[in-house]
């Protein structure tokens, strides 16, 4: 018994000292803004592992299918314009991509211990189901989006006819609504008498929407084309191979037993340090020095916090970095703030929260001018707009960071921008943020996970890898309404980030569709009817 105790304490002290040194080194490096490049190396290694895993799953799947006696290797009508080459490469991996045996799954449940409610709902996400197609069925490759990303090729149907949109002039026949491209003039003036067949168009559009619609999937975590070795991204407990299970178990151990405690510690220290530093800055008298100090302190503290998530962020076009004015970005999670604040000092605007976020909010408010308001005040647009204008009018104030969508979207699309921040006037700096979902899904599904559950999931992901593009500043044109300006900025961000540009309101996450939209559709149809 005493021997066991000695062994334990010795091994503990052997492990703990380097651990603490390691921790100190990370924090020190983060605070001076330098990096050993360890995280990038880690991400590269992970990529290789994922690639290996994917190929492996594909091979295993092909073998499985060959064994099964199925005649339908390739449906004749499967002349899919879905990206079949991409499908080929990633497909079988995608379909029921799971290498987790039930035993391993139970292991996850047991080890994750108390409060692992996060996993149960997380595994509910549907897994991509594109099957492995026989090589004869190669379709054409899907078009690449401007920044090289492939559009989501996990669709069940291809929508070629009517797709309804809240702004009926943008009802379109092909994918996302085309900005500023109303239906062709000749169609508008061509009125027809009512026919019994008129309803068919609406019926088909409705049933297509039931099978697949543009909006509801934006409020769920993004589907991955191939498995990234996390239990939460597959829902089919199908056993593929021993090798993959071993890799998964190793990954599990690394994430939970090494990375998680490390990250929690760093996070804790980071928050303490932030509170401490901003407290000190708060005592400095107003002036140039305070602003400079605030800038340095912000970047340092957020740098430490970002290493708590193992984030690897690439900033593009730093010459467009905002210096004042208003900065708008697409919103995926509270981590967006962290991601942007590692490179620049922002003033924040938002609702006053309680709990963990509230602590941070109060800490930050001491050192520099942020705008936090009560929920009840949110409805009072005038008051908020006034404070915004005050802030922006002083060029010495740091740029104010606003997320015009008003809610978290899953980083595959950009939804309607609220016009409030575009009415203030002044210069707008758009920023596009795109996370790489392979390493960890940054989307915060607030209706499903609480903040703590979400942070827990973040800290047990592989890493947070994202790209930030600073876009050139934009100004409201003469005679352009705030709504048009907002849409212009939105499409700019969507194009840069490779996101789908949607006209729908992000509040649909919680609210029902407005009656006015249906009435607008009815009006649109009635315009096409020739009356006697």
């Amino acid at each position: 018994m005493a021997l066991l105790w000695t062994v334990v304490s010795v091994s503990f002290s052997i492990i703990i000292t380097p651990f603490l040194m390691f921790l100190l080194a990370i924090i020190f490096l983060a605070s001076i803004g330098k990096s050993l490049g360890v995280r990038r190396l880690y991400v590269k290694i992970l990529l290789k592992i994922f690639e290996y895993g994917r190929q492996h799953i594909e091979i295993a799947k092909k073998d499985q299918r060959r064994e099964m006696v199925t005649g339908s290797s390739c449906e004749g009508d499967g002349d899919a314009d879905a990206d079949a080459t991409e499908d080929e490469r990633a497909a079988a991996a995608a379909s029921t991509a799971a290498a987790v045996e039930r035993a391993a799954g139970a292991e996850a449940g047991a080890d994750a211990g108390a409060g692992d409610a996060a996993h149960a709902p997380a595994t509910r996400r549907p897994s991509p189901g594109g099957g492995a197609k026989a090589p004869a069925c190669n379709g054409s490759a899907g078009a690449l989006l401007p920044n090289g990303a492939l559009p989501n090729s996990l669709s069940v149907i291809s929508r070629e006819d009517l797709i309804l949109s809240p702004v009926p002039s943008l009802n379109s026949a092909n994918g996302a609504a085309k900005e500023g491209l109303p239906r062709s003039r000749s169609f508008e003036t061509l009125k027809r008498e009512f026919e019994l067949a008129d309803c068919l168009e609406f019926v088909k559009a409705g049933v297509e929407a039931i099978i697949e619609d543009e909006v509801t999937l934006r409020f769920e975590a993004e589907e991955l084309k191939s498995w990234n070795l996390l239990t939460r991204t597959n829902s089919w407990y199908e056993f593929i191979s021993w090798r993959l299970t071993v890799i998964w178990v190793l990954g599990f151990l690394v994430r939970y037993c090494f990375l998680l405690p490390l990250r929690v510690l760093i996070c804790f220290i980071g928050v303490m340090w932030l509170t401490f530093c901003t407290g000190i800055v708060g005592y400095v008298p107003e002036g140039q020095f305070k602003r400079w100090l605030n800038y340095r302190v912000n970047i340092m503290c957020f740098g430490i916090l970002s290493s708590a998530l193992s984030s690897v962020i690439t900033y593009h076009n730093p010459e467009n970095r905002p210096k004042n004015g208003i900065c708008v970005a697409n919103h995926t999670s509270p981590i967006d703030v962290l991601v942007l604040a590692c490179d620049n000092c922002y003033a924040l605007i938002g609702q006053r929260h309680g709990g963990f976020l509230g602590v941070l909010q109060r800490a930050l408010a001491r050192a520099s001018p942020h705008i936090w308001f009560e929920r009840s005040e949110v409805k009072d647009r005038e008051a908020v707009a006034k404070r915004l204008r005050q802030h922006v009018s002083d060029p010495k104030n740091p740029p104010i960071l606003i997320f015009p969508e008003g809610t978290c979207i899953n980083n595959t699309s950009v939804m309607q921008f609220k016009k409030g921040s575009f009415e203030v006037g002044g210069v707008i700096y758009p920023v596009a943020i795109k996370y790489d979902p392979k390493f960890g899904d940054a989307f915060w599904n607030s209706s499903r996970f609480s903040m703590m559950q979400y942070l827990y999931m973040m800290m047990t992901s592989w890493a947070i890898v994202c790209d930030v593009w600073y876009l050139p500043p934009m100004y409201q044109k003469e005679g352009e309404t705030a709504i048009d300006f907002a849409n212009r900025v939105k499409s700019c961000i969507a194009r840069q980030g490779g996101l789908v540009d949607l006209m729908w309101d992000g509040q649909l996450k919680r609210m029902k569709a407005k009656k006015e939209w249906k009435e607008a559709q009815q009006e649109e149809y009635s315009k096409r009817l020739k009356l006697e």
């Binding site: 379909s95 595994t123 168009e201 609406f202 009815q522």
Partner: protein, 189 residues
């Protein structure tokens, strides 16, 4: 993680659905994913609210009628996956030489007919037609004009003079319409 297993599809179920509807196993799995994601309460069936939560369907003028088509009378207020698939099967494209049980031209026309036939008496009356017109145009066209449109439509389609459109008359009226194209959805793989 406890009750996840009850939500997974079993092989026999997939085979049964494939037999009845003609969808491939892959398509069935994808559609099952969709079904479960619409099923907020995790109870294995969908209610009308679950359907109408889809914004594109909620703003569709005929949204309510489409949702209604999923709920056969007497089967209560909820739709299970088999019923869901049976309705969707109507929209599969017609393939020559393949068994088209649920997606033949006649089946598609029957589905369209049910959109108009509000009380399910196998006939479209003038009032039913008027009700559908109201749904489609809202308040933008006056009552008199709508009535005259309805009467004209019935006059053109009615052949046996009973002032109502039966299913045969409906089919005849849509003879020259490309029902196959308008009522088929392009499914992938």
């Amino acid at each position: 993680m406890g009750n996840r297993s009850s939500l997974l599809l079993r092989e026999e179920e997939i085979a049964q659905i494939q037999e009845e509807t003609g969808f491939t196993p892959n398509q069935i799995e994808r559609l099952y994913s969709r079904f479960t994601s619409l099923d907020r309460g995790d109870c294995g069936t969908l209610s009308r609210e679950d359907f109408l939560r889809i914004p594109e369907l909620a703003i569709n003028p005929l949204g309510d009628r489409i949702v209604h088509a999923f709920f056969e009378e007497g089967c209560g207020d909820r739709v299970n996956f088999l019923q869901f698939m049976q309705v969707l099967a109507h929209f599969r494209p017609i393939k020559k030489g393949r068994d088209n049980k649920l997606n033949s031209r006649e089946q598609k026309l029957k589905f369209a007919f049910k959109m108009y036939d509000l009380d399910n008496d196998e006939k479209i009356s003038r009032d039913e037609l008027l009700a559908i017109l109201h749904m489609m145009v809202g308040a933008n066209i006056s009552e008199e004009q709508l009535t005259s449109i309805a009467e004209r439509t019935i006059l053109e389609a009615d052949q046996n003079g009973d002032q109502m459109i039966s299913f045969e008359e409906f089919c005849k009226a849509l003879e020259r319409t490309d029902v196959e194209q308008k009522m088929s959805i392009r499914f992938l793989n």
